[in-house]
């Protein structure tokens, strides 16, 4: 086993477990998720992803259709807890948007969108220290943490994201061990 495998295997296995407290919340997170609901939210997911990784001088999340990849990762690569928390999170976000700004997130302006995301970023932060670890273990990552990580994966592994948003070197052909960093240097898309 090499280093990459050792580290990433921890990431992969660090999902899902048993719960002892808050059993109602626990059970609702264990039910069969409504994945049709997930796909109905795809336009919303596209706007959320674009707010996280906007188009600048390089492509943004919508340019790479991050929402398709995010939905695939939720549907096929996430355990039930993560799936349910994600769908509940989208519902929460919409109702927060309506109560604060009287509109769906999609119809909010940039300032409103930023306020909404800041609210969920703050709410989604795990408790500090050991309680945060317990919280993550029993209840999975917060909706917003999952959304951000999946948006990053969707963007950085897409063709446009990897080749324009990052630096992609398909066949390096050699190894430069220490090279001066260039102005505007992007990080490598793959390790």
């Amino acid at each position: 086993m090499n280093r990459r495998k050792a580290i990433k295997s921890l990431f992969v296995l660090g999902v899902g477990a048993f719960a002892g407290v808050e059993s109602f919340k626990f059970l609702s997170l264990r039910k069969k998720p409504d994945l049709a609901e997930l796909h109905r939210y795809k336009p919303l997911i596209a706007e959320l992803a674009e707010t996280i990784i906007p188009a600048t001088d390089t492509p943004g999340a919508k340019d790479v259709k991050a929402e398709d990849c995010i939905c695939a990762l939720i549907q096929d690569c996430s355990d039930r807890t993560t799936q349910n928390k994600f769908i509940y999170g989208l519902e929460d976000l919409e109702s927060y948007s309506h109560s604060e700004f009287g509109n769906s997130f999609i119809k909010c302006n940039n300032m409103q969108r930023n306020k909404i995301l800041q609210h969920f970023e703050d709410a989604g932060k795990p408790y500090k220290g050991i309680m945060g670890k317990v919280q993550n273990k029993f209840f999975g990552k917060s909706f917003f943490t999952t959304l951000k990580i999946y948006t990053a994966i969707a963007y950085c592994t897409s063709m446009e994201g990897a080749t324009k948003g990052l630096a992609y070197d398909y066949i390096p052909g050699g190894y430069g061990a220490c090279i001066p960093i260039m102005p505007g240097q992007k990080s490598w898309a793959t390790k």
């Binding site: 990053a152 990897a162 960093i181 992007k186 990080s187």
Partner: protein
Amino acid sequence: MNINSGGIAQNTYDAIVIGSGISGGWAAKELCQKGLKTLVLERGRDVVHIKDYTTATKNPWEFEHRLMPTQEDLAEYPIQSSNFGDDSGIKQFFVNDKEHPYIQEKPFNWIRGYHVGGRSITWGRQCYRLSDLDFEANIKDGTAIDWPIRYKDIAPWYDYVESFIGISGQAEGLGHLPDGKMLPPMELNCIEKHLNDSIRSKYKDRLLTIQRVANLTRGWDGRGPCQYRNLCDRGCPFGGYFSSNSSTLPAAMATGNMTLRPYSIVTEIITDANTGKAKGVRIIDTETKETTDYFARIIFINASTIGTASILLQSKSNLHANGFGNSSGEVGHNLMDHHSNAGAYGQHEGYKDQYYKGRRPCGFYIPRFRNLPGEKAALNYKRGFGIQGHGERQEWFDKAQVLEGFGKDYKEQLTTPGAWTVWMAGWGECLPYHDNHIALDEKVKDKWGLPLVKIDFSFKENEEHMMKDIQDTSAEMLTNAGFKNLDVFKYHRPGGSTVHEMGTARMGKDPRTSVLNEFNQVHDAKNVYITDGSCMTSSACQNPSLTYMALTARACDHAVNEMKKGNL
């Protein structure tokens, strides 16, 4: 039972090799090149070099789930996914756990690749010689039994296999980690050079060097050089690293002497009732379900440590009542695996104006510095460890786990290089304990009617003490080199996770306490050789594949000489 004998003459070869992985491939090459008509049996499908590396040239976006394992993968491959978790583009080189069950009496990750080439496609490619510090360890500290060989016996065979494989690395002149025949080394990056300078200046007994790997820094034997893609585990279309598929099997095939038979599970060794020697092997063809017997003068068993022990234990006859070659009762016992759970990670604030280009398929190595001859330190454990690590700048995947915020600034942060980091862990020796063992379950059978393997393995006090020392010394070396935000870790991964299982048919001088002699011949049946990891009498702390290959080439030479003398 439907036995298709096919005529004894038609099914008779000079030699049979069971298994086509890293040691079986070497047996095939050596025996074929020495002129023996050789049947190579592989339980899984064929994997042809380049043609069958189906994911090797794909970009991340060509994978539906962008290399993340799916929930279905995790359910079908609960054990194997711990090994391919970061790249589902290599899933095809691991077995489906549900189709290939085994019993864990204690948690044990049995990582397997059932196909031509075996785990030589996905191996870590690290190549380090053992030395007399290792071969004399058991006798000197009174553990288990003595090795029947010393460094001088294997040294020319290290030369021989290294010259064929092509190994890049740096000579360091260490007595306990002998230099070999090496191609030019790959280069350390800035942070690794920094750590190396710090270690060499602060410790007289330690150094850091580039890993010695079977990746080619220049063209070699019609292969390579390495293109620095770091996608080795998918199979390399450039032949940039050594595997059975890229190297030994094509060499064997080129002689015209090899018959490669995939889809062939060996169910038992067929014994001559008078002499106790092996006559041949019985196989099940997994496609036709037919049983067939094959015969040969000599047999090499290279089915991997646990697989080989299972075949021996399945092969009971009058003269081999406890299983083939098991008069000592040691078959299946003394199972070892290196531990690689303990280490440290840290960040460094310097070198912000430096980066790297290309994806070097290896990291650095800090050779063993504990319990060396003449060392005075009083440690609470035997033997030692080598540290393997890797320096890099934080990239998007690392940052995505922790980065706060969203929007333009978040994107800028996510897509630019972060702080330099070093991750390093100790690959530590595991002592041979008799009670760490595999056995066959009497009741539960697999779909071929073969008994399931039961694995009973744990690391013990010596390994636990060593892991603590690895944590302490790793943290100290990083701190001394100015690293901050240290994470001193000890992962809870069970035995098997380092995929260095070995020891279940050990070599030794005394047939009463060992299975194999000094030439890897079965004490009880001299025409059978076992040269995979099961032959190891102790584990040392070096990655073991190079030693299996050297022992295999040496055993093949011995076998052919013995045949010429009429002894086999």
